[in-house]
Symmetry: C2
Subunit: 500 residues, 2 copies
């Protein structure tokens, strides 16, 4: 009966691919040899390469595109630092921050599948990691922006970049601003951050191969990883990693099939944030027994503030119901928006609280309705009669008393919405530009060791950044700077572990 | 540097396991040979074995426990049938059912990651499948219970077992009752169904190995599957499957680690429904490149009706807000309960709508509060002042007019809740007995062929039942009888495909 089954070759499968490793005995030659091989030149790959090289390893880095940066370079460059009394910048702004408060915040932010050990490890080492980045040459200005923003438009540093002051986080961890943005004029400091790190990669003697795709891992029959197969200018090469391979190839937000199979709700977001991010890093790990976890989770946001006066408004769904304390981080609000199982979402404001959203045009947030009474707004939005008005009436009654017993918005944002004209901003999911990236990935130890289904390391394999399931693993708990904190810090850990 | 890495053996890993296949060259001998090897003696495995044997294959079935049944035997034995004009039982009860309506319902029920081809395939073959089960000897009575129940306490057959009559399903697919329960007195007809199928398995000449655990697949270097390694009374055996191996080993609801990594919200349910269901079937498939999809989804329920008068009540969360049309299937309501991100959930009833929940004691549904006014109930529940009363007031106002513009509960269930005393049933998630099972699994074609990350079949490998991601893949769309429909029908398809 054997003949009824076609061989892999006969049905057009390559002998190996990102989902099927090249076996050691299939390797015809070694075109390259190094101690440590790193995939991907984003923040995780750069930090892994730097640390591995400084630990004495010879390092080759493979990058699919023609330059450094990866998806990290698309970001605002913010990193979430704190604990240990606080960074010098937090201290200069008058804040102290305990390691326990940072750990507690990270644990809450991790959600139902939190990795507490990883959260504590980062909290303990966050200040030292801040100093490490300073040593690499990343500059931070001693300045603090107290208003709630998304990222500085200036070269300022410290901001409230999460839900620290919002319920329920504020109840269990003393709030402290922890978003640190590099001293770079304007938005998009991720490119600057990556330029600094790329320079250090070069100085550390890392051999970088651009325009080079990794098409398979090389493993023996017990799935111990020995290297990788790459493709450059149409030619296949075999690279040996004597001590290990580190996967830092991003997440899978650009792979619609993987999204539909694992995180279909993210397909509702029209603006995935990614460069390559095709899931191949995760698949390479799976091909040798690595386990992917938490694959349904993603970060999602539509930055509806600043200006912060908008936080005094209330969000409603198409049933006219509130669903979140509006003083949460914009991503947490957006994750709750996606849970509403309807497309129509509005932010209700009165004249006193209204201002034009700073990024309204860019993210396609428009005015859905306006009126002299809330009944008029409700009618114009074609909402169920009496629903919006009942919601506003209840909110106003409690706000008048400085309370929000339903959703616990902090008192400083509570103001009855009584000053006409009234406005409903439209944040319709299928029109506004919701952005997203994935938070599921390879199951790893904090050291970056990739784990198999038995919870044991896949020998010779490491992962960091969004290829791994790291510190940020819950859209509802995300805070700006968490992904870069995870990628840079645990990238470094993976580099040292692989080298050592 | 090789010496710095320990071999798999040195760190205590078996050479192979459910997560690492035994390679063909590692097989010391064949202890058993058959054309088709089936894992698991639940409904999927039984039907796969029957069909493979009838197609002329020699079949061995491996079951970890000492008897037939699997998790299917724990069920009510209901199967979701319809389309093609309707089953004789639907027709006798006065219903006709088109294939298009059934397909449309199944597609809606499949949720954001629906497999439309599979839904259509089942819709087209559902009536023929009903007749096949009759031929196997499963008896169905020509009777219909029009009341909304969970499963018959009698030997009656046809029931409304889903959300067919509820919004939004009723808007896009003509409602028809499709839950068919075997003629078996009392609840728990799953055991009866499995007894009938087990007899057919025996008659078909299938060789059944009880108390036998499958510990690894056997595959060649291109991951073509050739057999499996099993353990019986402490001894390892090697079984060759000349035409294929079919994985029907259930889901992963009994594996808390896999739940926490993939579907952490299911850990909130205190009553997982499973026998083995440790995820090993899925892991075996993954070990040879099979892809697991939709792993975050699960069925969840607390059967809060019958009696159906309870459907006239309204559910609220701890913020005093409604969140669902209460005439949905109990599992859809329960899935929405789990989305509320709070533990406290109440069903509000007045004297006219109240009755004791039939399964209240079993599922720990108690009375949370009672009062002569809704304000009293709100106060006793310590809900935000004015929230419950505003919700009831809005509901009553529209119900009076026979409408539910917020949630679209059908008119027959709408009655203002105005007849004191008023009652709040308590369905607190961390106290009431929420049951669940998983709906993620191996990515397969309708034929049961397990697919790898390239979307190509893993040669020689099939899966059905909850080891596969099948027809039911969305907790919010689940209907009683869908999992058994999927397991029995696609189990048969897998058996034929493997044999043929």
């Amino acid at each position: 009966m054997e003949s009824t089954r076609m061989s892999a070759a006969a049905i057009g499968q390559s002998p190996y691919s990102v989902v099927r490793p090249c076996r050691l005995h299939e390797v015809p030659r070694w075109d390259l040899e190094a101690d440590v091989l790193v995939l991907g030149f984003g923040a995780a790959g750069a930090c892994a390469a730097i640390e591995a090289a400084r630990a004495g390893a010879g390092v080759c880095l493979f990058e699919a595109t023609s330059g450094s940066g990866g998806t990290s370079a698309l970001s605002g460059g913010e990193i979430y630092f704190g604990g240990n009394g606080g960074t010098p910048i937090q201290n200069a702004a008058g804040f102290t921050d305990t390691t326990e408060d940072l750990a507690q915040y990270l644990i809450m932010a991790g959600g139902p599948n939190v990795d507490e050990a990883r959260a504590r490890r980062y909290a303990e080492n966050s200040l030292a990691h801040f100093h490490w980045l300073l040593e690499q040459g990343v500059r931070y200005k001693y300045s603090f922006i107290p208003e709630r923003i998304v990222e500085p438009m200036t070269d300022d540093c410290l901001i409230w970049s999460g839900s620290e002051e919002a319920w329920p986080f504020s109840q269990q961890a003393k709030p402290c601003p922890r978003g640190h943005t590099p001293e770079f004029m304007g938005m998009g400091a991720g490119r600057y951050l990556m330029d600094v790190l790329a320079e250090r990669v070069e100085q550390a003697g890392v051999e970088v191969h651009y325009n080079t795709r990794v098409i398979a891992l090389i493993a023996d029959d017990s799935n111990q990883v020995h290297g990788l197969v790459y493709k450059h200018e149409g030619r296949i090469g075999y690279a040996r990693g004597r001590r290990g391979v580190i996967l830092c190839a991003g997440g899978f937000v650009m792979n619609r099939e993987l999204l539909s199979q694992n995180a279909p709700q993210l397909l509702r977001c029209s603006q995935p944030i990614g460069t390559v991010d095709d899931g191949s890093g995760i698949q390479l790990g799976q091909s040798v027994g690595g386990v992917a976890i938490n694959m349904a989770e993603g970060f999602v946001t539509v930055p509806w503030y600043p200006p912060e006066t908008l936080i005094k408004g209330i969000f409603i769904n198409e049933r006219g119901q509130r669903f979140i304390n509006e003083d949460c981080y914009h991503g947490r609000v957006s994750a709750h928006i996606l849970r509403q199982q309807c497309d129509r979402i509005f932010l209700l404001l009165d004249q006193a609280s209204y201002a034009e959203p700073l990024f309204g045009e860019h993210f396609r947030i428009g005015i859905g309705a306006a009126g002299e009474t809330w009944t008029e707004v409700e009618h114009e939005l074609e909402l169920p009669s009496g629903a919006l008005t009942a919601t506003v009436e209840l909110y106003n009654r409690h706000a008048e008393a400085g309370q929000d017993p339903q959703f616990h918005k902090a008192a400083k944002w509570l103001r009855p919405l009584v000053d006409p004209p009234f406005v409903a901003l439209d944040l319709c999911v299928n029109y506004a530009a919701y952005t997203c990236f994935t938070l599921g990935g390879l199951h790893t130890r904090p050291s970056g060791e990739v784990l198999n289904a038995q919870g044991l390391p896949v020998s010779g394999l490491y992962a960091a950044g969004r290829t791994a399931c790291g510190l940020p693993r819950w859209g509802e708990g995300y805070s700006s700077g968490l992904s870069l904190a995870d990628a840079t810090y645990f990238g470094r850990e993976a580099g040292r572990a692989a080298a050592g």
